[in-house]
Symmetry: C2
Subunit: 253 residues, 2 copies
DNA sequence: CGGGAATTTGACACTCCTCAACACACGTGG
DNA sequence: CCACGTGTGTTGAGGAGTGTCAAATTCCCG
């Protein structure tokens, strides 16, 4: 891993910015979105913020995780490493998404920060007790889990049946939609898409190699479906062209 | 679809066999496993049994489903059909598994009976109301959904990163484990595995073609990992050999 | 400006898909 | 009873799409 610019301690627990939950910008997307002020007050008492730098592990596979958390800023990945080194990313986590496996202290996947990331972390036993005692929390977790299950299954369609080109287009659409969701806006033609991750992460997410990812991006640039600004930024001249090239049918989140 | 032997009405609602929930053989695996007798009594009042024959649709994609159900007997598939005819099976449903998407009347996937199948179906609005009012039910649904999410992600690893050969082995292991689970037994060397589905269904589940499935089965037979009895039955001489050939690492359910 | 990482591009190999023929079981009807 | 059709599965030949390995290029940051 490369040497990083600012040498803050990894997984630094950030005691400064214990902002009030009521003002939390991503609460509507988080597991606590249905909570009332009293419930938020309780969660506030058991939360700590944790900051991560790109590439930094959040939870190792099989590790007994002491906390569960909500992504507040940045992007993280959830992945499985096979014994021979093959890796598959099984989920991307954006602000509001839950990090960790409730009711099971050892996660079957590893969580890694993809960008600079910030987590609102809850002590696991206390959070699980809160879940049991707080219907609004448990219900919201159920909603989120059902939605994630739908998303995972949509992604299975992509992994099992789509071509490399279609996979890339679907990924761009996903990245665009997830970024827009936080601002409650809809995709428009000409919009900018930020690719928050390296070619390697994309490849591992899409079940491809970095070379194939790179080649498909070049091909899509040539065919005009995307306009490449730099390796991490591109424009979508026509949203519907992108969806068509993505094999249609799927609305991935 | 072929003409079937016994021309009973499709999706026949079976009023005869309203067995008592207390005696239900698969209840421990179902959404109602945590319910007490009173709760079971209520569920009993809103349940009907439905029978399906192989290939028969249970819920069409995008259909407003009037019921949610629990698989009682047989196997069903959950799949997505792309506009151009490509199909991806995103889940197999065994006895105890839930059919349908709670809290969303239109399922994003279609459900089809793979074998003769029997469903314990609940009126959707009433079941959802029961979920809201019954913590034991809602909690169990959350547990099941979290487990399914883990399984879906494990399957993503298979779809994205495994070779055709590894996919076949993982599938055999899955079929074996799911069958054994109902009897609370563990896999043993020499055990019989029943393949409940056609080559086409397997291919669509594994992200392969039927020809590749067929060829890999022949190859695994030749290499001794499996012993083929007929197209739907095989023996596993060595469980650990099977797992090794499956790429290791994954415990799929 | 220099060094290392990330990305792109190229040449080639290999897995898996496509298209086609064939085998087999089963049911039907002559 | 056997010929025939249909559905299902197997096998073969050839090719497309990705992966592998290697080199060139760009980017980033000191």
């Amino acid at each position: 891993m490369r040497v990083l610019a600012h040498p803050a301690a990894p997984s630094a627990i950030d005691l400064r910015a214990r902002a009030h939950c009521v003002d939390c910008a991503i609460r509507q997307h988080a597991v606590c979105s249905h909570c009332d002020v009293d419930e938020l007050e309780f969660l506030s008492a058991i939360k700590t913020y944790r900051n991560y730098r790109p590439g930094e592990p959040i939870l190792a596979m099989g590790e007994r995780a002491p906390f569960l958390g909500t992504m507040v800023e940045g992007v993280a990945s959830m992945s499985r490493l096979l014994p021979d080194g093959r890796r598959q990313v099984v989920g991307l986590l954006f602000p509001g998404d839950l990090v960790g496996r409730p009711f099971s202290p050892v996660s079957p996947f590893e969580y890694v920060a993809v960008t600079e990331a910030r987590l609102c972390a809850f002590d696991r036993p206390q959070f699980e007790a809160a879940l049991r005692a707080t219907p609004s929390l448990e219900r919201r977790l159920l909603e989120m889990t059902l939605d994630e299950l739908d998303s995972a299954r949509e992604w299975m369609v992509l992994l099992g049946r789509k071509s490399a080109q279609e996979k890339m287009c679907s990924f761009f659409a996903l990245a665009a939609r997830r970024a827009l969701r936080l601002e409650k806006r809809d995709p428009i033609d000409g919009m900018l898409v930020v690719l928050p991750m390296s070619r390697e992460d994309m490849a591992d997410f899409l079940g491809l190699t970095i070379e194939t990812v790179s080649r498909q991006i070049s091909a899509l640039k040539k065919s005009g479906v995307i306009e490449l600004i730099d390796a991490r930024h591109l424009l979508i001249p026509s949203w519907s062209d992108l969806l068509d090239a993505g094999g249609g049918d799927i609305e991935l989140y």
